[in-house]
Amino acid sequence: MNHNELSLEPRVLADRAVAIKLVGVGGAGSNAVDRLKMENLARLQLAVINTDFQALSSSPVQEKVLIGLGITRGLGAGGDPDLGRQAAEADREKIAKVVKDCDLIFLVTGEGGGTGSGAAPVVAEIAAESGALVMAFVTMPFSFEGGRRLKQAEEGLKALRAVCDAVIPLPNDVLLQEASEGETVLDSFARADAWIGRGVKSIWAMLSKTGLINVDFATLRQTIGARGGKTLFGLAEGSGDNAMADAVAGLKVCPLLHTPEFSRKADRLLVNIIGGAGLTMHKVNELMTAVTEQFGRDSHIQMGAVIDEEMGTRVEVCILGTSDMGRGGNIRRPVAPPKSRPLPAADPAGASPAVTSVTVVPASPPSTPPTRGEAKILNVAPPAQEEFGFGEVESRGTFEKTDRILHDGHDLDVPTYLRKGIKIHI
């Protein structure tokens, strides 16, 4: 436990047992982590994993791991996912060291390239084996980056969905819609990073700040800890007198939620509200009504409210939902106990997964008792997650269930403006 880079950990864990780590994989992932580094979030550990030595060396993050030195000679994966995967497979121990002893791991990566699409699923798999809850934020390539990258990205996304608890894709195309006329490439990518940052930050805030109505790690696990479904994630903020109304309106245009309304129904929903000292019950009620109205009245709703003096009149809302999508039901993620846990007793909320145990046997059935009649499917291999309505190929709206109309390799059911990258000012 006394690696240099982890020297902070025991102190961090001493006051709260939830260890959160943000791991950037590949170029895009590292950039996003670098950006977040500036924000200085307490208790959030950062790490980057890359195949490119040069990119790693310029990163301000402390914990940097170069993988696949013997395969890529530290020169990057060159857009080849196979190479990326091999690199990660070759350095499993290094990766295992990075993800060790964490409760929640945010995996940030950009799909489409070599390391992002190839290595990220391996990292996620190792992290899941170590017992952590793995949430992945992934950016999808712009359409103009070409069909090959898109294909790689989708394969990468699929692989990631099979091993992560929640995958939140962020289609860059949607960001293009938001961009103003004169925005530079740098700004556009920064915007993608910023959204990922906001996503990570809001979950971090939810867990690390003690709330009026507290949402703890167990709640989070409860909400997302079932695979084989859709993940819904969105956030928005508002300020001033109409803070609540602004936040609700903001949720409607959040690019992370880029899907038409009819598919935005979640079976389990976690809503977290962060507001200033002036947050009234009335306002909370107003917001919750609007949110549940939109995202599923019948869902199992967990709600959290955090008071942060610094927020002033601002209000931030973060929703996270999952829905079970047919196909043989969802599988409760096998919670493998971690090998050794520092300070297991300091767990105020009783939140972390089952403690102490033997070595990990990843393939074996989970040690936690299966819940809600899911026993019968536990031994089945986890199904790949249902494709979520994001990105180019998937947003077909009402035509979701119909035959595709292909013309020149384009699916004509997908809105033209999306396929052609026409910017829409909402």
Binding site: R396, T416, I424
Partner: protein, 404 residues
């Protein structure tokens, strides 16, 4: 023809609405005496997906039409559309048998039979065989070549074929009302017949019927249909695009499309907003007029471009002197003719039915049903007149009810 009048129902099962016209047909006269219309359910992109829902709507429309007419419909002419309809061109040539090179009926029959020999893929059935003009020694003959002199007689057919099951689906909807389908007519031909004049068809004209779920098109050259096609993209796609782009429900998007949709981007001011409801109710939202126009314009332009690509070499501006005629419900979008003119490089205008069509039937949404009625009657008349392959393409309409 019998002197007794028959009551004919022309039915169009569309994606957005089901339209029924009842006509009294006595010998040479046709009078439209009833109309029924019902919003359509269970039909997506021109194909029946929910038989029960589609049947209920169709039967409601049929009942309404019968009530208005005060008569029972005896037989039905049915419009056909859907992405499964495809077409191909096949031609044949024969040497004229007679010593004096005078073409007779048997030559014509032989060449027609030869041109129709090509087999269809499995599970498909012919909807129409549309004959292109005969050629005698390479010279085009607008009418019948019988008694003309030449050595070589050529003819080609544009064969429209569709999937048997899909065709049977729509026919079974009508059968469920205990009615027989007497004729099926390709929707594009039906509306094309209504909105173009014989002169326009002679000079070359492209009819594009942009409907709710499909865009049907028919290119006429030398007086008859040359190429037809169905693209299963229509107004519902615009609604869907708006719903995804502006994050609205389908119903809201539909409303926005009808109120503020435009086929061209005219609004320059990004800040110009329109209300969703405009009734000052709680929950009303504002949308950028420009965003709406951008989304709609992108779809319309692309749809027309795809039509042009599908037509391929068949469409050339030189041979389409009468330009593009637009019809169908989506043709009501302001500015669509402008876009069509730009895409096809020929003048474009909205289709108008002939002057004798009554005021309440002049809506573009009714053109197909109207066309089905007249095409059907024309075909029937020709079936009655002669058993042999007659003149004009309408005679090659197939009576499908015997196969279905």
């Amino acid at each position: 023809m019998s002197s007794r009048s028959t009551f004919i129902g022309a039915v169009e099962i569309g994606t957005s609405k089901i339209c029924v016209l009842v006509a009294e047909h006595s010998g040479s006269e046709v009078a439209i005496i009833g109309r029924g219309e019902c919003a359509s359910r269970g039909v997506i992109k021109g194909a029946v997906v929910d038989f029960k829902a589609a049947s209920e709507c169709a039967h409601a429309a049929l009942e309404q039409a019968e009530r208005q007419a005060g008569e029972k419909i005896e037989e039905v002419f049915l419009a056909q559309t859907g992405g499964h309809l495809e077409g191909f061109y096949n031609e044949a040539a024969v040497s004229v048998k007679a010593a004096d090179n005078l073409i007779d009926h048997s030559d014509v029959r032989t060449v027609c039979d030869l041109a129709l020999l090509r087999d269809l893929p499995f599970g498909r059935t012919v909807v129409h065989n549309i004959r292109r003009p005969f050629r005698v020694d390479g010279r085009m003959i607008p009418g019948s070549p019988v008694n003309l002199v030449g050595q070589r007689l050529e003819v080609g057919y544009w064969t429209v074929h569709g999937q048997e099951q899909r065709l049977a689906d729509t026919i079974n909807v009508i059968k469920g009302f205990n009615l027989n389908v007497r004729e099926i007519v390709l929707a594009s031909l039906a509306s094309g017949y209504v909105v173009t004049s014989p002169e326009e068809r002679q000079h070359g004209v492209l009819v594009i019927d942009v409907g709710g779920g499909t865009t049907d098109f028919a290119l006429y050259r030398d007086g008859c249909a040359h190429t037809t096609g169905v693209l299963p993209v229509g107004g519902a796609h615009i609604t869907n695009d708006l719903s995804i782009g502006l994050r609205l429900t389908q119903a809201q998007a539909e409303k926005l499309k009808l109120r503020h949709g435009r086929a061209t981007v005219q609004t320059k001011d990004k800040a110009q907003k329109v209300w969703l409801d405009g009734n000052f109710a709680i929950g009303d939202r504002q949308f950028s007029q420009q965003a709406i126009e951008q989304i709609v314009a992108a779809r319309i332009e692309e749809t027309l471009q795809v039509v042009r690509q599908r037509l391929g070499a068949a469409f050339r501006p030189e041979t389409c002197a009468a330009g593009v005629v637009l019809t169908g419900g989506t043709a009501r979008l302001p500015g669509i003719a402008e876009v069509a003119a730009r895409v096809f490089g020929v003048p474009a205008h909205l289709g108008e039915p002939p002057v004798w069509v009554a005021e309440n039937l002049r809506e573009p949404g009714h053109h197909t049903a109207l066309g089905v009625l007249y095409c059907g009657i024309k075909a029937q008349a020709e079936h009655g007149q002669s058993a042999r392959r007659g003149r004009g393409f309408f005679s090659s309409l197939r009576e499908l009810f015997t196969h279905a």
